[in-house]
């Protein structure tokens, strides 16, 4: 197969969205399309209805975020979560838990809590998702620092095309408390989820095609300063320009950053 043919495509069947001031996809869609003003507010992270009561209360911010994103996209597509392969793309895991472990391990009493330890793995949110929706399907947990969305999208699309099965992509990231916050200044919890399908269905929102952008092409930006700030500060939202096209129902391509010297061109064709 030549490099010229190296593109991947799928149909977007559902979207989940959480960001500061944008608590869900209907709100985000209205703001991105200019039908509603952006009102600044901290991200709202609902308690995960999918988890049993005890775990629901204990669920950390990053687990609430990932589960809510996935649940919204699945509900939007009216899909069966248990049957979906998943790709979780995140730069970090639970920053607060990481801080608590590092603080304790720097002291005299290093007998850390077993629950804190198993919640420290990068795939904790993905593990809770599988338990919550009873999914035994393949699950990836991917990190590429600020390019985690791009890496997750490439893997999710490759699975859709090769396996001819729908894949739920959840791109998310959450904040570290100080002093790690100064080293990795993620301002809040935020992310987006796309349910990707190999076939067009009644509920398909758009067809998305992804390929490596030509060298030197500039990244797509949002005209609205507050929305552009979200794209820049929260790497899990790097595909926001593509979602703005979706919100407008406007075909065309956007360029999303992935790695230094490697951007992705996302072609969007609304249904």
């Amino acid at each position: 197969m030549s490099a010229l043919q190296a593109s991947l495509s799928a149909w977007i069947e559902g979207v989940g969205f959480i960001a500061p001031g944008l608590p869900d996809w209907p709100t985000a869609s209205a703001v991105l399309a200019g039908r509603q003003p952006y009102v600044e507010a901290p991200s709202v992270l609902p308690a995960p209805a999918l988890l049993p009561p005890a775990e629901r209360r204990r669920a950390s911010r990053v687990i609430r975020l990932a589960l809510a994103l996935g649940q919204e996209a699945v509900a939007h597509a009216r899909a069966d979560a248990a049957a979906l392969a998943t790709v979780f793309a995140a730069s970090g895991a639970d920053g607060h838990n990481c801080h608590a472990l590092c603080e304790q391990l720097a002291g005299e009493d290093r007998q850390i809590s077993p629950t804190r330890f198993h919640n420290s793995v990068h795939n904790a949110a993905a593990g809770y998702w599988g338990i919550a929706v009873h999914s035994m399907a393949p699950c990836q947990v991917i990190c590429a620092f600020d390019g985690s969305f791009g890496a997750g999208l490439l893997d999710a699309l490759a699975q859709v095309v090769l396996e001819q099965r729908p894949v739920l992509l959840v791109s998310y990231d959450s904040e570290y408390p100080q002093p790690l916050h100064a080293k990795r200044p993620v301002p809040d919890a935020a992310g987006m989820a796309w349910l990707l399908s190999p076939r067009q269905g009644e509920r398909s929102l758009a067809r998305v095609t992804v390929e490596r952008a030509a060298a030197g092409v500039s990244l797509s930006r949002l005209a609205e300063a507050e929305l552009e700030a979200l794209r820049v500060q929260l790497s899990s939202l790097r595909a926001l320009p593509a979602l703005q096209r979706l919100a407008h129902g406007q075909a065309g391509s956007t360029v999303v950053d992935y790695l230094p010297g490697y951007a992705l061109e996302l072609g969007l064709q609304p249904c």
Binding site: H118, G130, M136, Q140, P179, K183, R184
Partner: protein
């Protein structure tokens, strides 16, 4: 799946640096585990330490990536001529056509753990020298590997605890199959740190002895560290096909959907991953000549995996062993290390033994081998399972079909 040639490989563990040193130790039934004296850690457990990691110096241009994990990565990359083989692939295909897919569980968190002892007394700030992206972040090891080798294709880290570096073989194979890249460096690097040593201890999953996989008296893991790399290429390149050390024939992935840190008691997810790997290779249980088990030596893991293997392979009685009594459990590096041990089993026509295991648990209805033995191995399977219920099985063969 279409079989993919593996044209170069290397691994480094507490047994030694490179393919030959590890093979020699495994052939001799030697364990590299020692009582834990790592850093300031005071735990009654055994560990696998790679010699010389602290002496590795990163190139000055990559100083931002300096941490124990990336030093171990560089030690691995410079072994068995691996980096040169990758540079050959880059010359053949172009840097943008070569990807990097790495598995790790804790990346360079050890540097953050140390930095927390040196916070500014007034402000609480961490030392200026701590570089989060270069060490702590899971992508650090993939980014570093990419820069050392000069690869410019897609890159990612998979971090699904102890299945991480098995799953990168599958992720890379998907991108080669779709023509996004022509070749991929896959691998795993995990290094000793306080989080995993004290963490597994808190779960009462570490043994006070050297690990005894599948033994009737097994009582926990021995944590190890290691680095492993393999170079996968597109199958239609005759140069690559002619030079193949082995072939990736199949891969299977599943989730337990059961518990964050305990396996499904019947090994249901493990069985699904093995069955999916056989199906993707177009093979049946009778085709498998050796299984390198996940075999961590915890009571629960080995019981569940043993049941899964017995259920899938039935009376086929495939020779099985876990090599974690020799290498320790290298966590996010284990999948890649053990895939390469499976490749060595095929190349050598040899079934590895299980250093540390004295008497196999009689409850295990599988052909578990404590002692290594020469025997024909045409195709091997390697299992890797992780916290969060993440399962991956790989099928490797000496030929494409």
């Amino acid at each position: 799946m279409q079989p993919l040639p593996i044209i170069a490989s290397t691994y480094t563990t507490c047994l030694g640096q490179g393919l030959a040193a590890n093979l020699q130790a495994l052939r001799a039934g030697r364990s590299g585990l020692v009582p834990c004296a790592f850093e300031t850690v005071r735990l009654d457990t055994w560990i696998g330490v790679v010699d010389g990691v602290d002496d590795v110096r990163l190139p000055a241009t990559l100083a931002a990536y300096d941490c124990r994990n990336n030093r171990l990565a560089l030690l691995g990359l410079e072994t068995d001529g691996f980096a040169q083989r990758v540079r050959g692939a880059i010359r053949r295909y172009g840097a943008e056509r070569v990807g990097v897919f790495m598995g790790t569980s804790t990346s360079g968190i050890f540097e953050t753990e140390i930095a927390y002892r040196h916070r500014d007394p007034a402000t609480g700030a961490l030392p200026v020298s701590l570089n989060y992206g270069g060490s702590h972040n899971p992508f650090s090891v993939a980014d570093f590997t990419r820069q050392v080798l000069g690869a410019a294709g897609m890159a990612l880290t998979i971090s699904t605890a102890c299945s991480s570096s098995a799953k990168v073989f599958a992720a890379a194979a998907r991108q080669i199959a779709r023509g996004i890249i022509d070749a991929a460096v896959v691998g795993g690097v995990d290094s000793l740190c306080l989080t995993t040593l004290y963490g597994f201890s808190s779960l009462q999953l570490t043994s006070a002895r050297a690990a005894k996989p599948y033994d009737a008296t097994r009582d926990g893991i021995s944590i190890g560290e290691g680095a492993a790399f393999a170079l996968l290429e597109r199958p239609d390149d005759t140069t690559a096909a002619g030079e193949a050390q082995a072939w990736l024939l199949g891969m299977g992935e599943s989730s337990d959907a059961y518990h964050m840190s305990a396996p499904h008691p019947e090994g249901l997810g493990a069985r699904m991953a093995m069955a999916a790997a056989l199906a993707s290779a177009g093979l049946t249980p009778a085709d498998i000549g050796y299984i390198n088990l996940h075999g961590t030596a915890t009571p629960a893991n080995d019981a569940a995996e043993g049941r899964a293997v017995a259920a899938l392979f039935g009376r086929q009685q495939v020779p099985c062993s876990s090599t974690k009594g020799a290498t320790g459990h290298t966590l996010g590096a284990a999948g890649a290390i053990e895939a390469i041990i499976a490749m060595q089993s095929i190349a050598e026509d040899w079934v590895p033994g299980s250093p540390g295991t004295d008497a196999v648990d009689p409850a295990m209805a599988i052909d578990y081998r404590c002692v290594g033995q020469d025997a024909p191995v045409r195709i091997a399977l390697s299992n890797s399972f992780g916290f969060g219920g993440s399962n991956c099985a790989l099928v490797l063969g000496g030929r494409a079909a």
